[in-house]
């Protein structure tokens, strides 16, 4: 079954070459960019050359790959002096596996001598055996079923390096040991994941480690064994690789970031997970979010390496995605939660009730019963995730713990950011540090009307500590225009309940309602439907992403049973006036030798769109910085929305420097333009992608924006019916 000459995991190479050679539009631009970067500076983009050789057959890329591989192998022995490889070895394991696969793509090229091959193979075998095989064997999966991103990474690495050098390319007995010992690990590793496919390590680990590891493992095992590993539901929990990748595909939010579900969150999602799902399931619609978000030119770090784009290109569907249909699904799963999404993806609400941690082990699986994540018009409104070390507001009194770490040092730290009080949940009698004390708990799905309403029951979280008989939250998306969130509670006695929210940092109050305004130009008005007190306080250092600060809002009532409801009304504060993505003059500036005056007049290298690395469009030098300039017709344009990743850019309008206030990493900054001229020159200096990490760069469209002043909604409640009116439209909701 093993074909030594067939490049591993590459599928039909002829088909791959035809697919990429015939690509059009953004896919073609991305492929051009990868080839140009690989050819121009392979050591800066070491993940690209081998794939370029595979997909073109050109030896220039094989020479680049050889240079990268020899450098890598020469550095391997000394890597044992690194603390990373000693104490976080899984982070070095997973990239090594992909590097070995990429070696297989180029190994038969004549640019490699027999001595090169012997050295590279020996280096991989030694490196993986002494570091990751030994590390894998320490993990207790085979005895206890333990399963996480670390074990999966090490097992995959032993499997791949063992197979390549023990079975496929050569017969090294040591590689054979790694291959045979790692094979039995995958059934328990996958089967012990929850059936939902949600790994309990949170959306960040799901998206950037578990997803890529599962996709690659599935592809590898299917090629090695000739069996179906994608659909198989594995004991004891019944998870499958498909269920895991499908759950990961739901982690994409319409704002272009992945969910802050449990720990971390709010980063660019990996494209390769969607591409694998599309490739393996045969459903090209799976990759729709990539096109809808124009996120072609982002290459996020996945599994501690920068090859997301490579696997995306490899697994990209051969045909176009079918027309029509939703880009972002509305979904629910009894074990974990669900999402309401308007058909156009502009309004998004995710409600979660997944399994929590217990007592002092709430680290990654947070206590978040019925917590909500809301994203409107491409802008995150609520916040969640992890806190910075400097954040004292979430150091809840009963959440201190002394813990010894892998470095033999004991530390005192507070795990409050994982507990109830750090989430958009109901807080009872002010106990913010609430968490299950006896065993992990989760809620359950009560009702789901796709795209309309979702109800989750989280009574177990409260019943452990209070006289709670029922605690349920129903979120409604009304007429694809606004949300209503209702908590129905039933306690045996009266308690002080706070409907707690963490919003992006600009919050104002007007009477009983509050308004959140985001840096991307979106406003959310929150109107309580019941008499309550409102408490607002700023929180520094939470979340650890976005603005690294937020505002905590509590709507507080005394009650024993009844409902507690809020209307959440979103508005856009800008509308698009003109697309100005195209027509930018580009000047490379590797040594930062230009100032604004010089860059404003320097002859451009070329004119191109501003939606990603310039190498998408032409042979321009790989430079540390680039200058973009363009005349803008300011008529009707009060502001400009720039591509994502411009938070580190510096700007000048007709020579005057502009500030980028509130610009947030990974979101498109909106910049007010205050020039008086009808036509003005906007000059931008921006860091360009470097060292393969062009997640550090920019991507997406640029638009001129017109300011609008939406009318605030009027809400009338009459018994079980509420009427919400704004801008001449009336909406009615029956409870």
């Amino acid at each position: 079954m093993t074909d030594a000459a067939k490049p591993f995991l590459a599928g039909d190479v002829g088909l791959l070459r035809r697919k990429l050679a015939g690509a059009e539009g953004p896919l073609a631009n991305l492929w051009s960019c990868v080839k140009r970067l690989a050819a121009a500076d392979p050591l800066k983009y070491p993940w690209f050359p081998a794939f370029c050789h595979l997909a073109t057959g050109e030896e220039v890329y094989a020479r680049g790959a050889r240079e990268c591989l020899l450098k890598l192998c020469n550095e391997m022995p000394a890597s044992n002096y690194n603390m990373g490889i000693q104490f976080h070895y899984w982070c070095a394991a997973f990239p090594a596996a992909r590097q070995a696969i990429m070696y297989d793509w180029v190994a038969d090229s004549p640019v490699f001598s027999d001595d090169d091959r012997r050295f590279i193979e020996s280096s991989f075998i030694r490196h993986v055996f002494v570091n990751f095989y030994t590390g894998l064997r320490v993990k207790p999966t085979l005895e206890t079923g333990a399963s996480d991103n670390q074990i999966l990474s090490c097992a995959f690495t032993c499997l791949v390096v063992g197979y390549l050098f023990g079975v496929k390319r050569a017969r090294h007995p040591l590689a054979r040991v790694m291959y045979e010992e790692s094979l039995p690990w995958f059934e328990p590793l996958i089967g012990n994941m929850p059936a939902s496919g949600y790994s309990l390590e949170g959306s960040t680990y799901m998206d950037v480690v578990v997803g890529p590891a599962v996709a690659l493992t599935c592809a590898a095992l299917e090629e090695m064994t000739g069996q179906d590993w994608f659909e198989r539901r594995l004991p004891p929990n019944g998870a499958s690789m498909r269920s895991m990748i499908e759950m990961i595909s739901r982690i994409w939010m319409p704002c272009g970031l992945y969910l802050p579900w449990d720990n971390h969150g709010y980063h660019e999602p990996a494209k390769m997970n969607l591409a694998f799902l599309a490739c393996r399931s045969g459903d090209a619609a799976c990759v729709r979010p990539i096109a809808a978000l124009d996120c072609w030119a982002v290459n996020p770090c996945v599994g501690w390496g920068w090859d997301d784009t490579i696997w995306t290109l490899l697994w990209w569907p051969d045909g176009p995605a079918p027309a029509g249909g939703r880009v972002f699904p509305t979904w629910a799963h009894d074990e974990v939660g669900g999402a309401l999404v308007s058909p156009d993806g502009s309004l998004y609400l995710m409600q979660m009730w997944d399994t929590s941690g217990v007592n002092d082990s709430v680290g990654r699986p947070h206590v978040n019963p019925n917590s909500l994540v809301i994203d409107c018009f491409g802008s995150p409104i609520t916040v969640d995730g992890n806190a910075m070390e400097s954040c004292s507001a979430l150091n809840f009194e009963d959440c201190w713990q002394d813990r010894q770490g892998m470095d033999f040092f004991a530390r005192r730290f507070n795990f409050g950011a994982g507990t109830l009080g750090a989430h958009n949940c109901i807080i009872v009698d002010g106990w913010e540090g609430l968490r299950p004390m006896k065993r992990p708990l989760r809620g359950s799905l009560v009702a789901f009307t796709p795209g309309r309403a979702i109800t989750g029951d989280v009574t177990p979280f409260y019943a452990e500590h209070y006289d709670a008989r029922s605690v349920r939250r129903t979120s409604r998306l009304v007429d694809d225009r606004f949300f209503v969130v209702s908590d129905a509670v039933d306690f045996a006695s009266e308690h002080t309940l706070a409907s707690r929210w963490y919003f992006r940092p600009l919050v104002s109050s007007a009477g009983e309602s509050i308004a959140v305004e985001t840096a991307e130009g979106v406003r959310l008005t929150v109107i309580p439907l019941d008499d309550c007190e409102t408490a607002i306080r700023p929180v520094e250092g939470f979340p650890s992403t976005l603005e690294k600060q937020c505002v905590q809002v509590d709507f507080i009532r005394r009650m024993s049973s009844g409902t507690f409801s809020l209307v959440l009304w979103p508005d856009k504060l800008y509308e698009a006036a003109a697309d100005v993505t195209d027509g930018w003059e580009f000047i490379p500036d590797d040594g930062e030798s230009l100032d604004a005056a010089a860059a404003a007049t320097r002859a451009p290298a070329m004119t191109l769109p501003i939606d990603g690395p310039p190498q998408q469009y032409g042979d321009v030098p790989v430079a540390a910085f680039g200058w973009y300039r363009r005349k803008l017709d300011m008529a009707g344009g009060a502001a400009i929305r720039l591509p994502r990743g411009f938070h580190k850019a510096r700007l000048w309008l007709d020579g005057d420097p502009l500030e980028l206030p509130g610009a947030v990493e990974s979101l498109p900054p909106v910049l007010k333009l205050c020039g008086t001229a009808r036509v003005a020159q906007l000059l931008i200096k921006v860091p360009l992608p470097s060292h393969g990490a062009y997640a550090e760069s920019f991507y997406g469209k640029a638009s001129l924006l017109r300011r609008v002043s939406p009318e605030s909604p009027k809400v009338v409640r009459a018994g079980r019916k509420i009427t919400v009116s704004a801008a001449g439209a009336t909406h009615e909701v029956e409870f």
């Binding site: 002096y81 002494v130 320490v138 333990a146 040591l174």
Partner: protein, 182 residues
Amino acid sequence: MRTNPEDICRIVSEMDRMAGLGFEACPCSLGGLVAGLGHPAWEVKLAAVVGLGLRRGRAAVPHLLELLRWEHTQPIYGQKDSVGQDLPKEWTEEQRAAYARRWRLKSEICFALGNCGDASALDALILLCTDQKEDYNVRAAACKALGQLRDPRALPALRVAAGDWEFCTRARARWAMRQIEG
């Protein structure tokens, strides 16, 4: 640290030989593997230990215990001992090797002792499974080996290890207790 390609290839060739001997169940493979325990390159020692674990058999146990005693004489480096990639120039090759391999040889000795199934390893493993001076990888490996040996004399130490701060050790200790207690 060896970085010469020829050295790497030679060492991996020796490691391969150890793995190959480990696959062989014949009595004659023992001598080659035991000789590998004394190889100057720690990677070859490691492969020889793994080979003995694959091969199984009680005859290997005294040799593995001897290597464990030798490894106990070597310095233990933790994360707090980080000096980065530029190790002090005055360090000997032996110190460098100990810094590079840390817990790996000990944990693999534990696994091999568990596979070999001889109670003479019990005392050494009992000491290791709760030793907070050792890396957690060693404690976890010792717990697994004790579970394989299934000797009730290990239970008191395993009960302590079951409360270890580190997950792999805790999980393996509880598994080992189940193996012994049935």
